[in-house]
Amino acid sequence: MSMFLNQQSLQTVDETKLQYAEIQYDAMKSTLNTIFAQCSQKCIPLDYGENDMNKGETVCTDRCVSKFMQANRLLGAFAHRVRLSESDLSHYEQIKRKYLSGN
């Protein structure tokens, strides 16, 4: 309904806010995907016979996610304190290139 009331505000979207939102979305998406990949690799074996998770798998996933979020929080605080930026992680470009070239 707001598109009928304020035609003017529809055109102007704050660019910086949009960028912030995109960065936050990327960060959370990558965190969630890494949690899924890592914890399922560590906790859920490839052999199973039923569709429900066992007690061991449930407990392992709980602990894995909790540890991951703790580590994520600590590293985020550290990165914020030392003002980590992309230029500090320039060596990752070489690793990525090597990984993608199939070595």
């Binding site: 052999d47 016979g49 061991g56 392992c60």
Partner: protein, 184 residues
């Protein structure tokens, strides 16, 4: 920005609709049943019932053990000389005692095994056959510990081997899922 990984805030019981209340209740029941004490109690109760049936069956098969008459007045009278109702009462008491002892044993076995296995699995955070082995050893050893250390050792080994065999059989069907549904 709020953490999107956290679950949504809980609603109190009155705010939920009927469906959601039923879902919440079912979820609570499932949580209790799948917890370690719940598993131990359920296994103990089912072991008790199974032991009761087993005891009744075994008591009905054991016709060769002599049962005392229990009569103080006539110690020389045999069982067959008593009236039918008395015979039935004595046999029934004996059968009840056997059933109760068998049920108690099986109930203990079930409760201890399920409880220890669930606890060991929660501690190790892994699901493999060694949980059953450890739980079997503790169950067998714990039940036989009154008869001395050697009996406890044999009980541990026997129960652990039995539990491992059953687990290996149950897991023989597990495996990786097929990559697609077409070429099996």
């Amino acid at each position: 920005m709020q953490n999107p990984f956290l679950p949504p805030p809980k609603k109190s019981l009155q705010e939920m609709t009927q469906e959601e209340q039923a879902e919440q209740g079912a979820k609570q029941i499932m949580d209790v049943i799948s917890s370690c004490p719940g598993k131990a109690i359920m296994s103990g109760v089912s072991g008790y019932v199974l032991g009761g049936f087993f005891g009744i069956f075994m008591a009905s098969m054991a016709y060769d053990t002599p049962v005392g008459t229990g009569l103080q007045s006539n110690p020389l009278s045999k069982m067959q000389d008593l009236p039918l109702k008395q015979q039935m009462k004595i046999q029934f008491k004996d059968m009840l005692a056997r059933t109760y002892s068998s049920a108690k044993n099986f109930g203990y076995i079930g409760m201890i095994f399920a409880g220890v296995e669930c606890g060991v699995e929660s501690f190790r955070a892994k699901n493999d056959i060694y949980n059953g082995t450890i739980a079997g050893c503790i169950t067998g050893g714990g039940l036989a510990i009154k008869s001395g250390p050697q009996a406890a050792l044999f009980g541990c080994a026997g129960f652990a081997a039995f539990s491992s065999a059953i687990d290996v059989y149950m897991r023989s069907e597990n495996g990786r899922p097929p990559t697609n549904d077409y070429d099996m």
